[in-house]
């Protein structure tokens, strides 16, 4: 039986370099075979230790499950440590990945488009040539809109009666009434 197929992992940008080389007088006498770092491993290290996301957030960004992300992360730690300890080269290549491109929208023809060449900056709409383009991440935008649509709860202030639409992810008990500075509550 063939093993289960790996899901494609989302990598934001390819790394700026192809790898690392050790230097020093002992380099020639050591094992010179490079350690292969996959793109998804590089991305996991970048998200976790450079952008300081936790495993849960980082797994969502890469489009894999949290346990899979932790496995990728564990493997990159092992490889980087091995390269340091044994003084070996690291080469970043391969892996089951795709590179995500940014999405833009045009204000005059209302179309959406992406930018497959990251080196080229977008200044005009590719369809109508208008310069009213704005960068947007479609996924984030729609998620937020859907979330606020689905939530009909109301936060209210028990002392003065002030009411406000509830925002998801922000507990009512931590909100402070803008009028009388009392703690607010969820209206039932």
């Amino acid at each position: 039986m063939s093993p289960r197929l790996k899901k494609l992992r989302k990598v934001l940008n390819p790394p700026v370099i192809k790898g690392f080389k050790p230097y020093g007088p002992e380099v020639g006498s050591l094992n010179t075979e490079p350690i292969l770092l996959h793109y998804e491993e590089y991305e996991a290290l970048r998200l976790c230790d450079y952008d300081m996301y936790n495993h849960h957030e980082a797994s969502a960004i890469m489009g894999v499950s949290r346990p899979t992300f932790t496995r990728i992360y564990a493997s990159v730690r092992q490889k980087v440590a091995m390269a340091f300890a044994e003084g070996r080269q690291m080469s970043i290549e391969g892996g089951k990945v795709y590179f995500d491109s940014d999405w833009y929208s045009c204000g005059s023809c209302k179309c959406f488009f992406n930018n497959p060449q990251k080196e080229v900056e977008i200044s005009n709409c590719p369809l109508c040539g208008s310069d009213k383009v704005s960068s947007n991440n479609m996924e984030d935008g729609t998620d937020e809109q859907n979330a606020s649509k689905n939530c009909n709860d109301i936060c209210f202030c028990p002392s003065c009666g002030y009411e406000e639409g509830h925002k998801l992810g922000k507990p009512c008990s931590q909100m402070v009434c803008p009028k009388c500075n009392a703690k607010m509550r969820l209206k039932k």
Binding site: Y98, C111, F113, P116, Q117, L127, C128, G129, S130
Partner: protein
């Protein structure tokens, strides 16, 4: 530069098709020579894999942009790696001739 437009018919007055993989016709428009070519889509009744097969078809014509109403899940990673730009037009009732007019800004 060549642009692929998904069309629901083989005339300029046909409407832009809202799907990429299973649109009846592709219009390949060359912005420099103003030449256009209508290609019937062989994948219109495909059970699955219509999107990737259609990407192959338009990529073989060396297009650099694709205009359509919607792109499927399997397509995005494919066109990203081929460096083809996707343009999503969310307005129904746009004719192919309207799109070509907009491309000639």
């Amino acid at each position: 530069m060549k642009v692929a437009i998904t069309s629901s018919g083989n005339t300029l007055d046909s409407l832009l098709d809202e799907r990429f993989g299973r649109c009846p016709y592709f219009v390949i428009y060359d912005t420099e020579s103003k030449a256009m070519e209508f290609i019937p889509n062989p994948n219109i009744n495909a059970e699955n894999g219509a999107g990737p097969a259609s990407v192959q078809l338009v990529a073989s014509r060396n297009v650099s942009k694709i205009v359509s109403g919607e792109f499927g899940m399997k397509i995005k990673s494919l066109v990203d790696s081929l460096k083809i730009q996707m343009i999503v037009v969310k307005e129904p009732n746009k004719k192919v001739s309207d799109i070509i007019e907009m491309l000639n800004y």
